[in-house]
Symmetry: C2
Subunit: 768 residues, 2 copies
């Protein structure tokens, strides 16, 4: 059998494939993308220098800012140590797991290396983003003393460092590994060896987001409970020993956490799209595999331009200015997408217009998600107002109404995602309609991959807007604690309010991209299982039947259905654990603050300073301890399901396994080699239904939490009796309930979804 | 082709089946079951007469009881009118839908008749149960004046009427239709014609549970908000104009609603198991089809004995007495199960021991569900205590802690259900191991059906315990409002507390049986689709390939995945709508009570009676209006998905549709007849993932709500400061939030799950 024939067999085609225009210049595209990535890092470095050079305000401000910085760095150091140990243990387990079978042993080292590189890059991305934001906060506060525009630009450019570093590291990490593993020579096998990168990135992201999320809300809830409720002092009051811990939390939760979240989104999407690109190698050559990397480069350029376009006046709503930057970024990304499609995904039998359409679908979906999130979380609209109105009859009705809004929120996004999936699939099939020998399924799925790439094509700008949030939040805290003039506080309040909006929007965007990327990752998983089976059959000297694809996740099979139930259950249990962890850690904060007030009465009198560091130290320890168990659950459950259920197929046999084992259907070639897919299929059920449940719960929590928060702000703005009214008290209850929802459990669920996908990708060989 | 050959083709077997012992005496079993059913109705009638003869206490008590009865009957009359109109419209739509295609037209009338019979039986079951419970409440109150045992027996026997009528009607309804449609002559086709019965039952149940659930909680929350919070009068105070509406709500929500719920559980499980029994016709003959009906008869006898065994002393916990009855019922049911298995499901190649094992699995599962529910909702255990403890720091932490408990609750039940599914499947395969020519899948699924039958084999007793709850609740209200002595109130309080426990346990049981039955109903749906395809191919003169089974619900296919997402979304949206409906209706109650207090100051002074009827009238109207939209959503979404997606397969093609359409695999016989399964498969995805999400959300809501309720009671018992403390106030907030969870949305979700299953069963022919 010649090369083309073997190829056709490998990709599951029936007849030799036609359509690829030949002449593979993929190397040029890869190098171009890598150079853009390096330049983006240089740009980020220059931004850091520019930020560092800016004025740091008064000595009082510096004292506070230094305390925040020290706390955040201490947390990250200890957190990374814990995560590092977990990652090393997993690396060893991965190596052992892969080495057991002669079939997987040859790539064991490569998978472990890419796992470690992914984990390290994820860590660096999180750290750098926070490094800059804890320095930009005081400079933003200082700039706010002279102009709104100066403060806005400082905060956004500080945020841009995170965006650029995250996306650039994702590009450089995957690109370099691809080169290093000889991807240009073996483009069809190397993408499978990169799955470790996504797993490493998600693992670090899960712990970063979970630990940071527990930290930030434990400190926030603890500080509020003991400060506002018990001691009767306002938020951000310097007499509260937990106030610095609260400000540290904004950085470690929102900045470092979300940075790691988006890093693994791009990483997972990258690797998944490259695997699907490998299935279309006969059509696009290596360029189809490298397309996602090139789009990350486009992303970097478009976002950098977008950030520098943003400027505002003293009277404008800062949100408008940032939206202008977003529109510029989107426009440039769209142009870049078109250029990349016509330059890379082209050929005599390809209709690139349809493929470009996939990118438009992705971009439109991201706009829809932003709008839907705005509708549910902004006080201009009905949902938030209904919660505010329900506060009139007390906390119970406020909570009921908030939960009802939260449960309603998934409806429109699910419809948007459904439409995006169906459309991009259709566009993918149409775009490759004339290509013979590739299944419609592979074509359609590549379409959904392109839509995901389109949706993520503004990621760096979105991340800059997101990191803007904690920076301005911190800046406001510094201004408040250092007793600056009211006019300055008004400026930071304006920015802070815009920051709350951007944080909510980014969460909508993150969960939207996670749900679109999920389908791409499922398909990558199925594709990988197929490749494993093919490899196994070939090793045993069998003949892989033409047209055999593992595209079957049969919910009607008992083990798969059980896997699916367990996946959904995992989401609920994980959320419960995350929320309880916040409660327990907050109790420790409350205890410490009470102790400090009792031990040192001078604190409340304002005559002596509280020991901020002690509180920071306590939250750090509590958050790190609490993140381990839920994290371990997410890692262990899919592995357990895969390993247990892979022994199940002889009894629990249905169409798909029957097919694979060849008992009924004429697939003697596989029949000769025993192939058991019950484990792989059950894990796929867990993954898919876990993802659906995770996306819905994340939306419920993010949007419900955001709506409660803004309902409180709406009441505070003077509605329904304003501050200090009974309605306000009720709305504060809702806000407090929403806090662990929207800042701990919700964002952690985004990461959980992708971790499920990447862990199954990495461990697929063990389940077969 | 001979009869055996055609049979083998019909059931999808490869070779003629061996194992059936011949000599079909199914008719005897059917008649025996029907006679037991009729005798059970007679017993129920005698119980009603006995209840009616009992003493009705003082004139004051009668005034209150009459008001409750009038309100409940007025609501049910108006509710049944609304449901009747909806049912008639659907009957017409069903008839038209079936008549359009020549293929389905011949059975159109039969399906519509069974739909209407199911709906009417469901209505009668709900009505009779309520008829007796609104008469038993005052007699229980009266009996409580002399002894606890008398009151307990009165309440339980009043409840037993509901249990007997519900189960007997289910048995008689299905059994008579089976006879009437010629089931004894055509046992393999008639079960499919009964699917309408399940659909009719679920439709009425959905609206009964939803309308009743909205009514009961709107009245409860409204009465509490305006009575306890605004006017400062205690619960059940006769000055509150909404107090009668609140007591009416217990009957229409808990009694009539849960009666309809369990009615459709047994109906759906019956029909589903009969369809699966039809697939095993060659093994068991008609006896395999009639087995579920015979087990209903066993259920009736065992439960009747169980009810009459219950007696207690003045000092015993009434829960212990009722548990004794439950153990007696379970023991008898188990003996009956064994007898039925050895008598009916036997043959030379069958191992009935394994099949009996399936029944044990089902019964053990029901015990596990009861225990798990107790663990999460009783104040003896950690979860409720953690919520009570969290109340110390205010309503926010109470709510967070309650939600965390709620989200944790699905974990253990999901593991129990998973184990039950895997075990009963395995037992089913082992029990029929020596039977050749039937797929393992059909054997295993029949095993899960047997487990479901085992789980439901105490349904009548469980329902008696459940209806016990609202009867004692009402009795307590009557005692309170008619100013009886404290010692009497103490007796009814004891019964009321046991009633709260039984209500929580029944909900656990209902959701457990719903999730186990769900898998059986999925399989029945797949089996029906297979039969439709076979019928279609045969009509077109094609030859059905041996071994072809539709057992494929491929989540990796985009339309199926989209269907799955929509199914999960439906659960969230429906819950949101149900909760909002309670809020809106409660607002109307609050408004009316405020108006009455203003218009007639004599009410608060105690000099004149409030207009209870006006409040009842207002809640009735509001609940009926609010139930329509969520109900319509549940009916319309699966239909829309099925009808839209059935046109999708040409592009969105994967393994299963490819297989069916014969493009790749050698199934020319079907290929000759175009068969498009994209619609049927997408609906299956919606059904399965909707079920998973529904089961988890229902557990969250039922157990979370129950835990909040008992945390409040725990605080009231003197913990954490007792009544009137800040912790108590916080725990009242949690209880109020939990109310619409556990009494409206949660129970409605049980019904939603089964309605999804039955609607897809009925409409399957339209999706192919």
């Amino acid at each position: 059998m010649g090369f083309a024939g073997r190829l056709a067999v490998l990709i599951g085609a029936q007849v030799p494939v036609t359509g690829y225009a030949g002449g593979d210049d993929g190397g040029i595209w890869l190098w171009m993308a890598l150079i853009v990535g390096v330049l983006a890092l240089v740009a980020a470095f220059m931004l850091i220098r520019a930020v560092n050079k800016a004025d740091t305000g008064t000595p009082e401000m510096r004292v506070i800012s230094d305390a925040i910085r020290e706390g955040a760095e201490a947390f990250l150091r200890r957190q990374y140590k814990t995560i590092g140990i977990i990652a090393l243990l997993l690396a060893v387990a991965l190596f052992v797991g892969y080495s057991v079978s002669a079939r997987t042993a040859p790539i064991a080292l490569k998978v472990v290396i890419s796992f470690l590189v992914g984990a390290i890059c994820s860590g660096i991305a999180g750290y750098t983003g926070m490094y800059c934001s804890i320095r930009a906060n005081i400079r933003t506060a200082s700039a706010a003393r002279s102009s709104l525009n100066g403060a806005l630009q400082m905060a956004l450019r500080g945020g841009a460092v995170t965006g650029l570093v995250v996306v650039a590291l994702s590009l450089i990490g995957v690109g370099t590994l691809f080169l290093f593993f000889g991807g240009l020579q073996h483009p069809q096998t190397v993408p499978y060896q990169l799955v470790g990168f996504g797993f490493g990135a998600s693992l670090v992201a899960l712990f970063a987001q979970l630990g940071g999320g527990i930290y930030t809300k434990a400190a926030d809830v603890g500080a509020d409970l003991v400060g506002k409720v018990e001691a009767g002092i306002p938020e951000d009051d310097p007499r509260n020993p937990a106030v610095i811990a609260d400000l540290v939390g904004d950085n470690v939760g929102d900045c470092a956490g979300r940075g790691a979240d988006i890093f693994e989104s791009t990483a997972a999407e990258n690797v998944g799209a490259m695997i699907l690109g490998a299935a279309l190698y006969p059509v696009f050559g290596v360029k189809g595999i490298l397309f996602p990397l090139v789009m990350l480069a486009v992303n970097l350029i478009a976002s950098l331009v977008g950030v520098f376009v943003v400027r505002t006046t003293e009277t404008e709503d800062p949100m408008h200015a940032m939206n202008r930057g977003f529109y510029v970024t989107s426009g440039l990304a769209l142009i870049g997408f078109a250029a990349a499609v016509y330059g890379m995904l082209n050929g005599p039998l390809v209709h690139p217009g349809w493929l470009f359409g996939c990118g438009i679908v992705g971009l439109v979906t991201s706009f829809l998600f932003v709008w839907i999130t705005e509708y549910y979380t902004e006080s201009r609209y009905e949902p938030v107002r209904s919660i505010a109105h329900a506060s009139l009859t007390g906390p119970a009705t406020n909570i009921i109404s908030g939960l009802a809004v939260g449960m309603e929120t998934p409806a429109m996004p699910v419809i948007a995602i459904s439409a995006a999936l169906l459309l991009s699939y259709y566009f993918g099939v149409q775009g490759l309609h004339d290509v013979v020998g590739i299944s419609d399924y592979a074509k359609g799925i590549y379409g959904t991959a392109l839509a995901t790439i389109g949706m993520l094509s503004c990621a760096a700008y979105i991340l800059a807007m997101d990191t803007f949030g904690p920076i301005t939040d911190n800046a406001g805290g510094i201004i408040e604690m250092s007793n600056q003039a009211d006019a300055i506080r008004a400026r930071t309040d304006k920015l802070d309010s815009a920051g709350n909006t951007t944080k909510a929007l980014t969460k909508g965007y993150a969960v939207g991209s996670a749900s679109l990327a999920a389908f791409l990752l499922f398909s990558a998983y199925l594709e990988e299982v197929r490749a494993i089976v093919a490899h196994k059959v070939n090793l045993a000297g069998g003949y892989m039947p033409p047209g055999w694809n593992f595209t079957n996740v049969n919910l009607a099979q008992v083990p798969v259905f059980v896997g699916a139930m367990l996946g959904a259950m995992l989401v609920f249990l994980f959320s419960s654990m995350a929320i309880k962890a916040v409660g327990r850690s907050a109790q420790k904060v409350v205890q410490d603050v009470r102790d400090q007030f009792r031990e040192n009465p001078g604190i409340m009198a304002g005559t002596s300073k509280p020991d901020y560091g002690r509180c920071v130290h306590i939250v750090t320890g509590a958050a790190l301890k609490e993140m381990v168990l839920p994290g371990a659950l997410v890692v262990c459950l899919p592995v357990a399901v895969g390993l247990i259920f892979r022994n199940f197929s002889s009894t629990y046999q249905t169409a798909s396994t029957t097919y694979a084992a060849g008992t009924i259907l004429p697939v003697p070639a596989i029949a000769g080699v025993p192939v058991n897919l019950a484990g792989a299929e059950s894990v796929a059920g867990l993954l898919m239904v876990g993802t659906i449940a995770g996306v819905l719960m994340a939306m419920l929590m993010n949007n419900g939490g955001g709506a409660w928060d803004n309902a409180k702000k709406y009441v505070e703005s003077g509605q329904h009796g304003g501050k200090k009214s009974e309605a306000h008290k009720a709305s504060v209850v809702g806000d407090t309930v929403g806090d662990p929802f929207k800042d701990t459990a919700g964002p952690s669920l985004h990461v959980l979804i992708k971790l499920l996908a990447t862990i199954t990708l990495v461990l697929a060989p063990l389940f077969v």
